[in-house]
Structure formats: structure tokens, C-alpha cells
């Protein structure tokens, strides 16, 4: 059985090695093990450092453990009484000092990186983004650019973006693992953090603090694009939406039913938290309502009965007020709310 056990102990160790070193099977835009920016990289460095130290400790303990279990097992017919050893000061000192040394090795970069990540750099250097969390959606304000957006967060690549995070209702937590660790959004308080995306891409983010019935569905996306593209995006966001006459019916329905909650002007109402997501660039959304497929059928389904898809959200259902044809026109109109 001891042979058996030996194999058992080695299995998790091997699994650690395999998974950490190869990073197999994971989503590179979601996983904390595939860092895509300096914040996540520094955190990944600490994760690796601590895992290596811990694996060393684990190996030492397991060698002693297996040796003891094999060598000092009671054997049939064995009699006599083992020596009753009281202890050993020398050994106690050894296994107090060595862990202290290992912890110091871990503690120094820990403290250094803790302060590095909390660094507040000059505000005129960095793009400022205010993140306001709601049950169950995300609002972003760019105070220096004069625009606000919802759900998908657009940032430029290769530069630090400074975030100020708060919440309108309960505590949420803003987490895009591939770019960096999370920071809580507390109602009545403002937290600061910074992130940087090295490459363009759509990074996946999640709410990490239990925030109610639809906590699971409170994802978000960070769309990172090169600076010129980002600037172009900002300019377009500032322009008012011009609708075409093709979707006039949908526009009318929107004006009657939706606009009292949803703004379609990204420059409107800055400094005041929105009541519902701004839809200026709705047509560009990566997913619908942070989680669902972005297709006409699902959008219509959502408008009819949002409570069913996302329990506890505030949007009323329009199943009784709009017939299928009206829904189709409304969806057509919504799809034109784009800045691309």
C-alpha cells in the first residue's frame, strides 16, 4: 500500500507541473495563467514564485513522510517499545528558521509589488475610467473624454489605464484575469486600480463578488485597440446617432418605450450614474446583456422577457406591449446603434 501511496502523492505534483507550465486547455483571454499585461504578469510572477516554493516544501515533507511510513511501520511480530524521545531543540530551530527564510524570499517581492500595483501616477498621463457597477451591468465614464459607455469597456493598448471603481447598489468586484486581479466596487466609496493591455483583443471580465440572483451573468468584455483606432472610436462615440429612414418604425417604438431609461447619446449625463445601460454603441456589443448571444432572435427574446433570462434585473418585459413585427423593427433599429 505504501507504493500505492507514493504514486498518489506524486500525481497532484505532476498535475501542477503540467498545467502550470503548459497552460493547457485554458482560454487565453480569460485565464490568470496567461497574463496579457504588466499587472497580470507581476501577479503571475508571484503566483509562480509561491507555487515553486510550496512545491519544494511539499517535496521535502513528502520524502520524509513516505520514508517514515515505509521504514517505521509496525511489522508483524515486532515487539519492544520504541525510544520515547522528548523532542529536539536543534530540529525545532531548524524547522522554524528555514520556513522563515523561505517566507522572507516570498515576502520581499510581495510587499514591493503590493506598492507597485497601488501606485497612483499623475492623472494627466493616464486615461481615466470611472467604473460604476450596477445589479447586473457595468457603466464606464471617461471623464476626460466626455463620453460614457456600458457593458463593453474600450481601452487603448500599451498604456496604463487608471480606474476609479464604485457601485450604485451592492458590492461587486471588477475582474479581468488575463489583464490583472480584481478590485471591489463598494457603494459610497471609490477604489483605484490600473491595468494595461499589451495587445489588441477582447478580454473577458467577470463580477467576482456575489451580488444577487444574476451574479453569475454579470460578465463584461474589455476591448483593447491600438491608440489611433481608440481615438477614432472616441470621436464616433461623441457624435450623436443619426438614424436612417429604413428603421423609422423601430426608432419610434424606441422613443415611446425605451428612451425613458436608456440613453443613446454617449455625451449625456456624465457625472450622474445612469439608470440603465447607455445604448449608443449597442450594435457593437460583443455579447447581449453581458452574457447572451448577440443575434436578432435573442435580442427580441430579451426585450420580451428579460426577467426570465436574467433574474432580478430592473428592465420590465415588453411581451404584452409589442407584437412580433414591432419587436423585429425595434431590433433592426437597435442594430443600427453602432459606431463602427
Amino acid at each position: 500500500m505504501s507504493q500505492w501511496k507514493k504514486a498518489w502523492r506524486l500525481l497532484p505534483l505532476l498535475a501542477v507541473m503540467m498545467l502550470v507550465l503548459t497552460g493547457c486547455g485554458q482560454d487565453p483571454f480569460l485565464s490568470a495563467l496567461t497574463p496579457r499585461g504588466p499587472v497580470a504578469e507581476q501577479q503571475f510572477y508571484l503566483i509562480k514564485l509561491s507555487i515553486y516554493i510550496m512545491m519544494g516544501v511539499f517535496a521535502v515533507v513528502m520524502v520524509i513522510y513516505v520514508y517514515v511510513l515505509v521504514r517505521f511501520r509496525h511489522r508483524p511480530g515486532q515487539t519492544g517499545i520504541p525510544e520515547q524521545i522528548e523532542g529536539s531543540h536543534k530540529l525545532e530551530i531548524i524547522w522554524t528558521t528555514i520556513p522563515l527564510i523561505l517566507l522572507t524570499i516570498l515576502a520581499i517581492p510581495t510587499v514591493k509589488i503590493t506598492f507597485d500595483l497601488a501606485e497612483k501616477f499623475p492623472t494627466d498621463d493616464a486615461l481615466q475610467v470611472k467604473v460604476i457597477a450596477h445589479q447586473f451591468w457595468w457603466e464606464y465614464e471617461y471623464p476626460d473624454l466626455g463620453i460614457s459607455a456600458a457593458q463593453d469597456l474600450y481601452i487603448p493598448t500599451g498604456e496604463k489605464v487608471q480606474f476609479q471603481l464604485t457601485s450604485e447598489d451592492v458590492i461587486h468586484s471588477f475582474w479581468a484575469p488575463a489583464l490583472g486581479g480584481k478590485t471591489d466596487t463598494n457603494p459610497g466609496m471609490v477604489n483605484a486600480m490600473w491595468l494595461q493591455a499589451d495587445d489588441p483583443g477582447v478580454y473577458k471580465g467577470k463580477c467576482a463578488e456575489l451580488c444577487g440572483d444574476s451574479h453569475t451573468l454579470m460578465d463584461f468584455k474589455i476591448v483593447a485597440m491600438d491608440r489611433p483606432e481608440f481615438d477614432a472610436w472616441v470621436e464616433k462615440m461623441k457624435e450623436p446617432h443619426v438614424s436612417s429612414s429604413d428603421v423609422a418604425e423601430g426608432e419610434q417604438i424606441f422613443a415611446d418605450s425605451c428612451i425613458s431609461c436608456h440613453a443613446i447619446d454617449a455625451t449625456q449625463g456624465l457625472d450622474i450614474p445612469d439608470f440603465a445601460p447607455n445604448l449608443r454603441n449597442f450594435g457593437d456589443r460583443v455579447v447581449l446583456a453581458n452574457y447572451f448571444n448577440m443575434d436578432d432572435e435573442t435580442i427580441a427574446e430579451w426585450i420580451k422577457n428579460p426577467e426570465k433570462m436574467k433574474p432580478g434585473n430592473l428592465m420590465p418585459g415588453f411581451a404584452d406591449e409589442l407584437d412580433d413585427q414591432q419587436l423585429a423593427s425595434l431590433v433592426d433599429y437597435l442594430n443600427t446603434l453602432s459606431v463602427k
Partner: protein, 586 residues
Amino acid sequence: MYLLAGGFFFLLGGLEALLIRIQLMYPDLDIFVGGTFNQLLTMHGTTMIFFAAMPIIFALLNAIVPLQIGARDVAFPFINALGLWLFFLGGVILNASWFLGAGAPEAGWTAYAPLSTPAFSHMGVDFYVLGLQVAGIGTWLGGINFLVTIINMRAPGLTFMRLPMFTWTAFVTSALVLFAFPAITVNLILLMFDRLFGGAFFNADMGGNVVIWQHLFWIFGHPEVYILILPAFGIVSDVISTFSKKRLFGHSAMVFATVLIGFLGFMVWAHHMFTVGMGPIANSLFALATMLIAVPTGIKIFNWLFTMWGGQVRINTASLWSIGFIPTFLIGGMTGVMLGVAPADFQYQDTYFVIAHFHYTIVGGMVFGLFSGMYYWWPKMFGKMLNEKLGKWNFWTFFIGFNLTFFPQHFLGLMGMPRRVFTFLPNAGLEMGNFVSTIGAFGMTLSILIFLLNIVITNRSEQTVPADPWDGRTLEWTIPSPAPEYNFAQTPLVRGLDALWVEKMEGNGQISYAEPLGRIHMPSPSVLPFLMAIGLTFAAFGFIYHTWFVAATGLIFTFVLMSIRSVKDDPGYYIEVEDIDEGVKV
């Protein structure tokens, strides 16, 4: 009683866990979603911590601590009974929420404000607030009782440094209960004011502060972790020592490590809150304090290994659980240090990595320890030995199931799976880990069923067990199995660490006594503790339903009973010498 009630709640909490794992077996399942899932996870956590882990520990403390210190009973049997009923009825109040009101609480076992305030949750949380207060009083009374018992009722010669490790850990755990539970009580009262009387402690719009809840919760919550794990350390120490046929290596180092862990346990609460925004100074300090705890814990691991070193290690179910404890708890402890690295914790916090970590400490640590203690002391508690064959099945299915369940969760967390989510999307590398984890949960379920079967079979078997079936070292093995109601016919005289072993080595074969055989004074049974607890339960339901009349009646009822208890003399009764079994020869 504690064991029965704790076991019942353990099965309940386990069932909730299994349902959670079933929902997460495949991506995009919709068996338990939204609020229902949140109710399950809240009740699983709350039940397991407060109503399964705590009472089962208290059961062992109750059964074994008096025996290890040569006492006839705990210091305050009345308070003991009161504590039991308060805990049990607290659990009943909490679980009544499934059937009354709007469903079980759904704000997580941590009940973070403002999600737990009335603006964002239904009345299930009222059951949580009141149930935990009632149960908390019971637990706190229990803690005081054990402290007094261990300080005052040790047999002659049993100095503190001669106490067996289990009693030492019981002592430190009780001290932690004494200081930690007031924090959660204060917190629950603040929340109760917010919920029932329109308070605004946690309402940011009215000048409240939501982070206060987290501080007070973890000032309780972190010591609570050590309340749970320390007795398991004690069990493992005693079991490994007995089955290695050696005294515990570095007994005094172990004692100081235990005290140090208990002390540091109060210094690290904010490592649960690195992402809350406390700033780099607080985060660094709490990170360093957290890492420090690894040192006394490491001392313990090495002392266990060196207790076995040079011994004759007997493998049976009781010792298997303790031997299995070492690597699993080690993993839990190591991931604990990893979590203490504040910037890395920004990635771990609130993910499945944390779930994996604390299940490795609480299940891989505490539950393994409790099973070890259960198999070890079962003959002393019930006079029968649990079946060894089923016991081995019990261990191996649990050991394999446990590792299958929780080991993959480390990676799920790092790969971007937050905790407390009811589903996950396909094609993000999360399917495999979740599937394996659910299979493991079934393995653990099978193991628990085997354990139940073992209890039934053992209970039916006709066997008698000698006083000292394991070649034990401490005082509990000097009296018959099961222990008689007066425990010790004569108070023993202790002449060293491992009192019984000392006598065995000197060839005495039995413990010496500190007093001649005489009649034994016993407390009378009383219905008052039960009625007092009923009074408080009534009051709790009164508060939950805002019927102040009922609440006041319940409270007054309890106060009247307390007065009766204060003025009425309880003469107790005596067990005469003829009715006492002579001490047993070992």
C-alpha cells in the same frame, strides 16, 4: 446529543453541496439557478460551519476533555445543556427558512452588506440573523464552560504542560470562541437593526459604511477557522502518538505553536479583504502576518512526522485518517500562504482557488481529524469498535473523492471561474475540472453512506470493548468503555505527560488514585435549559415576523426561567459506593 444533531446538519449541508456540484457538472445546466442556487450555497456554508463542524467538535470536546483531565464532568453541566439546546434550536430557526417566509437566506454564508440588507434581500436573511444569534449564545457558553473545566478541574498532578494535545487545543479553541463570537454577535445585531428597525449602519446613502460588516465578520471569521482546525490538530497529535507507540515529539513546542496560532489568528482577518481597497500599507502588513502563521503550522507538521520517526506505526482506520490528514492539510496550508501574497490574491480572491483552499483546510484538515477522532474514541464513547473493513472503505473513498473534488478547483479558479456562480460557459477550459469535481463529490457521498452503514452495523453488533483497546497513553483509557456517567470512580493522580503510559512503563498496570473511593455527587437532570432555549426561539420568531408581543413574551419567559434557576437550590444526588464499578486493570 451534539453528535447526533451535528451529524444531522452535516448530512443536510452535504446534500446541499451535492446539489451545487450537480448543477455545475456540465456547462449551461439550469437545474438550480439564480436565487435558488444562492440559497443552496448560503445554506451549505452556514450549515456546515455553524451547525455541523462546531457541534461535532463540541461533541468530542464534551466526551473526551473531561476524560483526559480526570474530571467527572464539565464544570457547568447546566450551561452545557443550555448551550446544546440553543445551538440546536438556532439551527432549526435557520432551516425553517426553507419552509417559511420567502425561502432560505441567499446572501452567502458571509452575508456581506449591503446584499444582506432589506433593500437587496428577502426575509430569508432574517432567519440567518436570528438563528445565528441564538446558536451563537449557545456556542459562546460552551466555550466558557470548557475553559473553566480545563482550568479548574484537572486531576492532581496534571499541570498544563502535562495536558494531552487534544485538551490543549480544546483549551485554545475555547479561548478563541470566547473572544471571536462577540464580534459576530455585534455584527449580527447591527444587521438586525438595519433589517428590523430601519437602521442604516450599512446603508451608504444614509452615511453608513458597508466595509464595517466585512471587518467585524472576519474578526470573527478568521479565528473561527482556527476554532475548527485546532481540535483536529489535537486529535491528530494524540492519534499519531498512540499509534506510533511514542510520546509526541516536541510536546512543548506543539503547545507553544498552538497558542501562537491562536494568537496570530486574531491578527490576520483582513487577508480576506485584500481587494476591498484598504491600500498597500494595510495589505502588506496583513500579508506578512498571514505568512507568519505558516511557521507554527510547519512546526506542527514536522513534529508529527518526527513522532512517527523511529516509532512502530500501526495502520488502522483511526490512524489512516490522521496520516491522510498530513498531506491534504499541508496542501491547504500551502495554498493559504499563497493566498497571503496580497497582489497574487487579487487573482485568487473570490474564485474557485479559494474554494479549493478552504476545503483542503476544513475538509482535508478538520473533517479528516474528526473522522480520526471518531474512530479512535468511538469505543470510549459508545462501548463498541467501528468496523475496520468498512472504515478502510470509508477512508479511501473519501480520500479519493475529496481530492478529485477539490484539487481541480485550484485550476478552475486560476483559469477564471469565480466562486458562487451557478453555471459557466463552454469552451473556456472549465468543463473537465468541473466534471471531475462533481464525480469526486459523488465519491464523498458514497463514503459518508459507508460511514452511516458502519455506525448501524456497529450499533447492532454484540461486542464488548476493553478499557484500553489501542494501547493508549492518556487518562481516558483508564476507565471502562463506554465511560460510566461519573467517568472516574476515583480521581486519578497524574505523574507525568501521558499519565497512563507512565504507569505502564513502571509496570503498575493501572493508574494511581488521588482519593479513596467515596460516594459521587451528581447534578440533577433539569428541563430548564431546554425551556430557556425554547423561550429564545420564540423571541427569535417574534422578531422575524415583527410581532413584538411574541418577541417580548419569549424574552420574559427566558428571564423568568433564569431567575428560577438563580434562586432555586439544586442539591443534586449521590451515587453510593456500592454502585460504583471498581477501577479497571489495564
